[in-house]
């Protein structure tokens, strides 16, 4: 069932304590800041969050972590020059970390959305991140068994949605959006624009509306994020 919702607050209101929440974005590109802020305000806690990173600076996911609302992070790259809130929680032993190679993270999310019970991959074989996992020699390569990552909710950002919930993204802000939309039981999307049904070329739809449950329009202008002092997109 697809709903168009007026505010980000209403969109995230159903997220319960203890939920697993996928959050789109790679760094800040594609990160649904308004939905994350709303998740802060709604008070849900004891969350398991799936994201490539573990928050940066003093916004978005970093604040959720700072406020102690995240019990566990599943991510590939938690440590950054400005990941001080995660760093503090980690060193204090107040947050659990499941570190996953980035491609395994993506494929585990994809597998969940595709109904795959797990898969063997060469990535990580012979490393500490494969310790305790089943391995097999397949096609002449040692491979490691990885299981899917399911989620209760996905919060993602797209550029446009049409009336059917079909989504298009913008440049490298697409990143984890399409696979998280498919992997979660309930997918909430923030978009810059809602366009009439029929105005997106069906050949160019990236995420079909079947994966989308809630759409909320936010006022953000695409690609307008500020740069930090290192010239990186903050």
């Amino acid at each position: 069932m697809l709903n168009f919702i007026d505010t980000v607050g209403e969109a995230v209101a159903g997220i319960k304590d203890g939920s697993t929440v996928m959050i789109g974005g790679f760094g800040n590109a594609g990160q649904p800041f308004e939905l994350i802020d709303a998740l802060m305000d709604c008070g849900a806690k004891d969350l398991t969050v799936v994201n490539n990173n573990a928050g940066q600076g003093d916004q978005g996911l970093a604040l959720l972590i700072k406020e102690g609302r995240v019990r566990k992070m599943i991510c590939s790259f938690p440590r950054q020059s400005d990941s001080w809130h995660f760093d503090a929680k980690f060193h204090a032993g107040e947050i659990e970390l499941e570190l996953v190679p980035q491609g395994n993270l993506a494929e585990r999310i994809r597998a969940a959305g595709a109904g795959i019970g797990g898969f063997f991959t060469p990535t990580g074989y012979g490393t500490t991140l494969a310790e305790g996992k089943e391995t097999r020699l397949l096609d002449g390569k040692w491979q490691v068994f990885e299981s899917p990552i399911h989620a209760d909710v996905a919060l993602i950002k797209a550029l446009k949605a049409d009336g059917k919930g079909n989504l298009v993204y913008r440049k490298t802000a697409r990143n984890f959006g399409p696979i998280m939309a498919a992997a979660a039981k309930h997918t909430i999307v923030q978009v810059s624009e809602i366009v009439p049904t029929g105005s997106l070329d069906p050949e160019n739809v990236v995420t079909p509306g079947i994966y989308v449950n809630s759409v909320v329009r936010v006022g953000a202008v695409a690609g307008s994020e500020a740069l930090d002092s290192n010239g990186k997109v903050a």
Binding site: A29, S76, L97, Q102, A106, L129, Y169, N175, V206, G223
Partner: protein, 222 residues
């Protein structure tokens, strides 16, 4: 010139930019290439139009152009190091699972990575020092090391303490097993594989001097 071996191609060790230039020159025209964060990024400065190289960035793009400046800067268009970049004509975008399928599926010709250590059999250690208080962060390093057809490493041959980073067996946690095919250093280029390590060329020192620095048996390029 002294009594160097015939494979010495420079009288001085190479600087970072000279090394990047050498790696760029060795990339076969028409290749699909991923340049790791840090020193490998310099390689893009020396790729020529005639080489027709397509750059991949693991956050979902083929056909990545140079770093963005001024009005080109767009928060939705960044590379794996989260630096704003540009797109070239013929670029394409795709989601993260497709991006890593490009690597894992063996479609990427070359990736160029930095390293803490490389072993005699091409094992790579570049993601974690193993220090107990360090927060581990792997990103796409393991996927790149395992997936690309050729893995080139760029590093200084020696640590600040003078120890060789080319070692019999890595002491740092591994990123990938037997994955490195070439090691470009300031003092020499090494080819790694099941038959051991071959010195292709040296810079500012002889084969014999390299052999004294590296604690494993080296072969001379034919």
């Amino acid at each position: 010139m002294g009594t160097q071996t015939s494979i010495q191609t420079s009288e001085k060790p190479l600087g970072r930019d000279e090394l990047a230039q050498l790696v760029a020159r060795d990339i076969v025209p028409g290749s699909f290439v991923n340049l790791g964060i840090g020193q490998p990024t310099l390689v893009s400065n020396y790729l020529t139009e005639e080489q027709n190289i397509t750059l991949h960035t693991e956050n979902g793009m083929l056909g990545m152009g140079p770093g963005a400046v001024g009005d080109e800067i767009d928060g939705d268009l960044i590379n794996a190091g989260k630096i704003p970049v540009t797109e070239l004509p013929g670029a394409s975008y795709f989601h993260h699972a497709d991006s890593f399928a490009i690597m894992r599926g063996g479609h990427l010709d070359i990736c160029v990575l930095g390293a803490f250590q490389v072993s005699a059999t091409g094992d790579l250690a570049n993601w974690h020092t193993g220090a107990p208080d360090a927060i581990p962060a792997v990103g796409g390093a393991m996927d790149l090391a395992t997936g690309a057809k050729d893995v080139f490493v760029m590093m200084t041959l020696l640590t600040r303490d003078g120890a060789s980073k080319l070692v019999e067996a890595c002491t740092y946690p591994l990123t990938g097993v037997g994955c490195v095919t070439r090691v470009y250093t300031d003092k020499a280029v090494f080819l790694t594989g099941p038959d051991g390590v071959t010195v292709r060329e040296t810079f500012g020192c002889t084969f014999e001097e390299i052999q004294e620095l590296v604690p494993l048996p080296l072969k001379r390029a034919e």
